[in-house]
Amino acid sequence: MAEHDLIDDYLELLSRRIRLAPNERADVVAELRDHLLETAERLEAQGLDGRDAQLLAVGRLGDSDVLAGLYGRKRRVGRRAVAAALAAAALTVLGAGAVLAAAPLGNDHDLARELGFEPSDVQEPSRVEIRGVPLPQGVSADDVQFRVIGERMLILDGELWTVSRP
């Protein structure tokens, strides 16, 4: 795979959140990079295009914030709690979408901002689609061009957006 900018963006987000000594943090990022690249390569070999392969790889790994939080924990986190947090990450944000049902939708950027997302400073243009995430009433997947890939992350017009609200 020639480019893996989306994976790099994800690792950048993760790296910022991880609370470990710099050398340990670098090791974690290197290991996860290997994993993500291997996943994406295999998906591409199965016929996915490069960008979708990266998206799926990142989505399967899990929300970068939650994952970062699992490092440096002294006590074990219950497996159920972890699974629930990671699996539900994509749904959490758009749960807020129910409130937006009555509000007129501008473009996708407006909707993303309504949900509390702001463009992060890592950007890469490409087109992605929303999949399997509950949408506000009256909005169909064809209308929306962003994808929630974590509790604090989504992709809109190929840009990686992160939650800015407290």
């Binding site: 290991e31 990079r33 290997d34 291997e38 790994l61 899990g62 994952l67 497996r79 990671l86 699996a87």
Partner: protein, 101 residues
């Protein structure tokens, strides 16, 4: 379960996840990332050890293997599980445990 994946040979995280998926008949539902902090804890506990090598391209690959303590721990847990499973099976089968045959 992670320890069991390393029983036959050393493996890196991706391979461990593959094994977990195969062995659990696809029931493995956790986000894949969770195994990495878990492996780190196992290493901190001295049950596995890891080595770095160069992967494809400019990648660094971390491979894990069981330590002697890890192998012993795995064996102990497997024995426990077997005892438990046998007890459940015989109870469900209507026999009392231990079965007398």
């Amino acid at each position: 379960m992670l320890l069991a994946c390393l029983e036959d040979e050393p493996a890196h995280g991706y391979r461990i996840i593959e094994l977990l998926r195969e062995r659990s008949d696809g029931v493995f539902e956790l986000a894949e990332g969770t195994i990495y902090p878990a492996l780190r804890r196992l290493e901190g506990d001295g049950l596995v050890t890891s080595t770095w090598s160069s992967g494809p391209g400019d990648r660094r690959r971390r491979t894990y293997r069981l330590t002697t303590r890890g192998a012993a721990e795995l064996a102990a847990r497997q024995a426990e599980w077997k005892t438990f499973a046998t007890a459940v099976t015989t109870v469900l089968g209507g026999e009392t445990w231990p079965s007398t045959t």
